[in-house]
């Protein structure tokens, strides 16, 4: 795909996020739901950038959100007296991206040498290992976590601190989602994307074609991890203004990310939005209508969807619009 219109698929993505945001602002009492949905979309979008495009499943993904959360927490709790104003949040995001990138380089250097199932197994313990490292070695206050609501108020003032954690944190989540989508599209439409697509389909053939597969895997892995760090910093750190190791290194979130990506369509641009919305909305309503049973009902539904639509919803949609004028909007 070359020439004009190669970035057109960003239009439906931006429209979807804009509608979701408008709904949240307009409908009374729905902001928390909307924020949760945006979080799931962003999580899927960031996770998809690596898993969807390479076919490698990283079971330790939540660790990147975790260290990102710490990046923000450590920044705010240690720099709150510096008189940085809102700049402290910018530094926090920067720290989050740096922390998760460093972790990604460390994990990637070892795990990315492995393929398929071996990669998945190697990453499965990363989050647990990191959690126990923080608790055991008493890094960043160990098991006590970091509570930094007081520091946030010192840095920004009481009123601004409130607005940041109740409103701006969620807007930042939207921002991470859009950023992840833009990067995904950029990769898909450039050499990186073709390299990743090739290695997902046949890693040996990709190597033979002269593609430095390790390099592109690392690029995707680090991008995806840095986005996770930003998501942790906004959706968790700024929103909650505290961080505890058991909360942010919970494998459950990795599993949710996998489900969202598979539901929507791995390796597609729109997939994580579709997956995130469906997953978030059904989880919400099942929790209201059948409290306590939601997982029992949810699991078979997800299994059924994945068996019937192995390419995910956007995978199906891509097939349907093939050859029509809508084709250039859907990837």
């Amino acid at each position: 795909m070359r020439g004009s219109g190669k970035y057109l698929p960003i239009v439906p993505v931006l429209a979807a996020y804009a509608l979701l945001l408008l709904y949240g602002l307009a409908a009374p009492g729905k902001w928390q739901l909307v924020a949760q949905l945006a979080f799931y979309c962003a999580l899927g979008q960031a996770f998809n950038l690596f898993m969807g495009m390479t076919g490698y499943v990283d079971f330790g993904y939540v660790a990147f959100l975790g260290v990102g959360t710490y990046g923000m927490a450590v920044t705010i709790s240690s720099l709150s007296d510096g008189g940085l104003g809102l700049g402290i949040i910018l530094i926090g995001f920067l720290a989050a991206a740096v922390f998760s990138t460093i972790l990604a380089m460390a994990v990637g250097a070892v795990a990315l040498r492995l393929r398929g199932a071996y990669f998945a197994i190697a990453t499965i313990g990363v989050n647990e290992g990191f959690r126990y490292l923080i608790e055991g070695a008493r890094i960043w206050n160990g098991a006590d976590g970091i509570i930094f609501s007081r520091h946030l108020k010192t840095a920004l003032g009481r009123k601004m601190a409130m607005t940041v954690s109740t409103f701006w944190a969620d807007i930042f989540v939207f921002g991470v989602a859009v950023l992840a989508a833009v990067l995904t599209l950029y990769y898909l439409r450039n050499k990186v994307g073709y390299a990743l697509l090739a290695l997902r389909e046949d890693e040996d053939a990709a190597k033979v074609m002269g593609i430095d597969v390790t390099r592109y895997k690392i690029i995707a892995f680090i991008t995806s991890a840095a986005l996770a760090g930003l998501l942790g910093a906004s959706g968790w750190a700024l929103k909650l203004t505290y961080v505890y190791p058991p909360d942010v290194f919970e494998i459950h979130y990795t599993v949710e990310a996998i489900i969202i990506v598979l539901l929507g369509g791995a390796g597609t641009l729109m997939g994580p939005i579709a997956g995130g919305l469906i997953y978030g909305v059904s989880k919400y309503f099942l929790a209201i209508t059948l409290p306590g049973f939601q997982l029992l009902i949810f699991a078979p539904i997800i299994i059924a969807i994945i068996v019937i639509f192995p390419e995910g919803l956007v995978g199906i949609l891509k097939g349907k619009v093939h050859g029509t004028s809508l084709e250039k909007f859907v990837i």
Partner: protein, 235 residues
């Protein structure tokens, strides 16, 4: 053009190559014969660097490339057609071919090479928008060969290109091999189980067994030796 000396490699603790020496002269088809498990594919993968050499040397056009990474070797024109139709099944024929021209040097000659591939395999031009996974076995093999040609090869290593194909298609593949040599002057290192067809196509033959070269010579010399034919080639 290619010279391999005392090459040793394997997987984990298991050694597969026990020091074969081979040479490929420019403009020739060199054939590597031998039974299953002789280490023929491993030899190709090791030359390419996807399997790491333990010992020995690999020279390509006079330069020592023993430990060069695979993508660097691709830049030098050392290209492989892997065994068993390693296609990008979800991509179209056209996209598969473009993937072949992934490296920068190959990109510049993309259009010319594309034309060459379409003239060699006109059917691929007709099927260019079809998904590669839906093609017949023979056509899939044409895509893998075409994709390798897009990479601007100087030495093309073909790993069992006739595997699993109908006899008629096998003949076509061998005709293609001849054409590549005669018309484009490509140098080819051919690994085959189909001994008789490959003896016919080759200028020089190596017979491999259990990781070492057991015999070598012109096809006529190999044909003439009953021991070699019976012991290693089963013809």
């Amino acid at each position: 053009m290619l010279k391999v000396e005392n090459l040793q490699s394997g997987y984990g603790p298991m050694q597969v190559l026990w020091g074969p020496d081979i040479q490929v002269k420019p403009g020739t088809v060199t054939s590597l014969l031998g039974p299953n498990g002789a280490g023929k594919s491993t030899l190709l993968w090791t030359i390419l660097g996807a399997v790491r050499p333990w010992e020995g040397k690999i020279f390509f056009e006079g330069e020592d490339v023993t430990f060069e990474p695979t993508h660097k070797k691709a830049d030098r024109g050392l290209v492989m057609v892997p065994e068993g139709k390693h296609l990008f099944k979800e991509m179209t024929v056209y996209e598969n071919l473009l993937m072949g021209a992934y490296r920068k040097g190959a990109q510049e000659e993309r259009e010319a090479n594309l034309e060459l591939v379409y003239s060699l395999f006109p059917i691929l031009s007709e099927r260019r928008t079809q998904r590669a996974g839906f093609l017949s076995g023979g056509q899939q093999q044409m895509v893998t060969i075409g994709r390798a040609l897009m990479a601007r090869p100087r030495l093309l290593m073909m790993d069992e290109p006739s595997q699993g194909l109908a006899p008629k298609i096998v003949m076509e593949i061998f005709e293609t091999v001849e054409k590549l040599k005669e018309e484009i002057g490509l140098t080819i290192l051919l690994v085959e189980q189909n001994a008789s067809a490959s003896l016919e196509a080759a200028d020089y033959v190596y017979v491999m067994h259990e990781g070492v070269i057991m015999a070598e010579g012109t096809p006529e010399e190999i044909e003439a030796s009953h021991e070699i034919k019976e012991a290693y080639l089963g013809i």
